[in-house]
Amino acid sequence: MEGAVYVTGMGIVSAIGNGVDQNLYALLHKQSGIVDAKLGEKTVKVGRVPLSNEQIVAALGLGHQPISRTALLGMMAAREAWGANEHRSNLRTGFISATSVGGMDRTEVFYEDFLTETPADFAVLIYHDSGRSSEDIAQYLGINGWINTISTACSSGANAIMIGARMIQSGRLDRVLVGGTDALTRFTIHGFDSLMIYDRNWTRPFDNTRAGLNLGEGAAYLLLESAKSLEVTGSNPVGYVTGWGNSADAFHQTASSPEGKGAVLAMKQAMRRVSPSAISYINAHGTGTPNNDASESEALLTVFEGRVPPFSSTKAYTGHTLAAAGAIEAVFSLLAIREKTIWPNLNFSEAISKTALVPVIEPQKQEVTAVLSNSFGFGGNNSSLVFSPF
């Protein structure tokens, strides 16, 4: 199909598993990956990938360089999405990745030493900038030429997928690995804590008692291909990226507008070629913060004129993985299509009183025709994607 954007590969590493199969198992069995972790004297709940840097380096067969954890997680997921694909001189292949922290996991350790005048290795800072983490991942897979990093906070992963789809439609690339990666850092945990939106308890998206997010880490990538590329590779599509939208809320640097104006615009753009009734499932942004879930609920009621399709937030499984979230949830959306199952929203007990929206709370078997996935970020950056079955 001319102009179609096919998804032919998926890869993921998150708190609920290394690889698509482990993630699927946890989704089906309602197993959250969020655990207690020490942050100085405090205990915080985080969605940590249960693999050390050393274990990942060994699994990837890398030498001992101080590569950021962001890049290491990205390599794990990107390798799975790339699979057995080969480099071909007749196909232009690119890599578009999202990250919000880049090499901050290394930099913050360095900078603590630097401030306390402990000898510190300045070479670590080579890995700091976000673009570098993408270059490292791309190099690991042998992809070069078009490498592009998106940094729009929590909507970055969705934006990377959107830009990849546009690059294919424009004819600039034949196939592109798209997604995002972020490691847990003290920088972001302290950051959300300082904003008073880090719940010390389990995050409870869309619940009336929700009190904030739990951060997570992880990475996920999709391999997107054009029709021309499919003819060459013979890959089996798992679905299409059928729509995308990005809009600025232009309301506040961190908070969403009460009516979710930017969110409404992004969802409507993404659904330009799909009627609201065709959406079987919405993987919501649903961070568990009072502001996001209230605003997103209002936006959903507006877009779907009061008849909101089955929806859930999967962030109580993985934690909020920031720039990886849109990509991780894209994989969950495609798995919903493939498995004909809607994923539950964990830790929910009572609907938000004003909007009364009740998410899906048990794995729900049904035909899934199209999935809408939302990702909203700081700076009022709102993005929505629509995936549909092949």
Binding site: S100, T107, E108, Y111, E112, L115, F122, A123, L125, I126, D129, S130, G131, R132, S134, E135, A138, Q139, N144, G145, W146, I147, N148, T149, I150, S151, T152, A153, N159, I163, R166, M167, S170, R172, R186, F187, H190, G191, D193, S194, L195, M196, N246, S247, A248, D249, A250, F251, H252, Q253, T254, K261, G262, L265, G377, F378, G379, G380, N381
Partner: protein
């Protein structure tokens, strides 16, 4: 490219007296040690309340963005696309220092303002612009990638894209440069914003013929340039000026070649200054037809932008 791409406005804040000025190519002076940034009156563009809360990169970016929109007579662009190599470093360093040293409650402001997309987000807030809003960060080619995104938006039927570049200096970078063996490199800040349109108008300054970005695969600079020109049916002789970073020093043997770092200083998106230089050259130098901007700041990554003069 599927659309013609005109540059209808250009605004830069840096070390040269170019902000809001046309015809500056002969007025540039190589940077001397101790030269400060030439900053316009931010109050003419930003209300004093907001201005007080803004870090250097935000006030420079917002002012450049608003000046570019003013020049092009565009109120609301159909997209805001920003390229930045290192993002909001002042606030990033401040928040790092705060959580590593402060006991108890940490103020959130620096965290809020530390994310790369604070720049594009603040511009959308200030303009009340709900349209496409994106931030690209790819080392030294962040600006060129932002340009390509803007061109794609024009091809998709949008018009009047605000495309810009921003990077800010912190003293810590000088320490890093010296530890890495680049002591003496003139690191600094700079912001440039442009308005791209598929239609020329009385505001049009130059036309973009093509942009190429190569990451992780720059085999040979000269042959990459030749391939780029070949594809466009041009030869090196057709170019009036070739702007290269020239960051390794020494004057180029080729008289067409001109270094840009000596005027802008070194920052990851300094090629946006060179782009503005090219636009100004094509707009004001009689008979000039083509200027090529070669972004070779980083040996692994290459950005090539070919600009052409427009007939008036």
């Amino acid at each position: 490219m599927k659309s013609r791409v005109f540059v209808n406005a250009a605004a830069t804040i840096g070390h040269q007296p170019v902000f809001g000025v046309t015809g500056f190519v002969n007025e540039l002076k190589p940077l001397q040690s101790g030269d400060e940034l030439i900053q316009p009156s931010y109050r003419d563009y930003i209300d004093p309340m907001s201005l007080r809360r803004m870090s250097k990169i935000l006030r420079m970016s917002l002012t450049s963005a608003k000046e570019a929109l003013r020049q092009a007579a565009v109120e609301i662009p159909s997209g805001i696309i920003v390229g930045t190599g290192l993002g909001c470093l002042v606030e990033t360093e401040k928040f790092l220092t705060n959580f590593l040293t402060l006991e108890g409650l940490i103020p959130p402001t620096a965290f809020i303002l530390s994310t790369h997309n604070t720049i594009a987000g603040q511009i959308s807030l200030s303009l009340n612009c709900h349209n496409y809003n994106i931030t690209h960060t790819q080392n030294t080619v962040s600006f060129e990638i932002a340009l390509v995104d803007g061109i794609m938006k024009l091809e998709e039927g949008e018009d009047n894209l605000l495309v810009g570049a921003a990077d800010e200096h912190i003293p810590f970078l000088d320490r890093v440069a010296s530890e890495w063996g680049y002591a003496g490199l003139r690191l600094t800040s700079g912001t440039s914003f442009f308005v791209l349109s598929s239609m020329s108008s009385s505001h049009t300054k130059a036309e973009i013929i093509d942009v190429e970005v190569i990451v992780n695969k720059v085999e040979h600079l000269d042959s990459s340039i030749t391939r780029f020109l070949d594809r466009l049916g041009l030869k090196a002789d057709d170019l009036d000026v070739v702007l290269e970073s020239g960051w390794k020093g020494g004057s180029p043997a080729d008289t067409k070649k001109q270094g840009f770092i000596e005027y802008s200083g070194f920052y990851p998106t300094a090629s946006a200054f060179a782009f503005h230089y090219a636009v100004d050259y094509l707009q004001t130098v009689d008979g000039a037809k083509y200027v090529l901007v070669v972004n070779d700041l980083n040996p692994n990554n290459l950005g090539l932008v070919l600009l052409k003069s427009v007939e008036i």
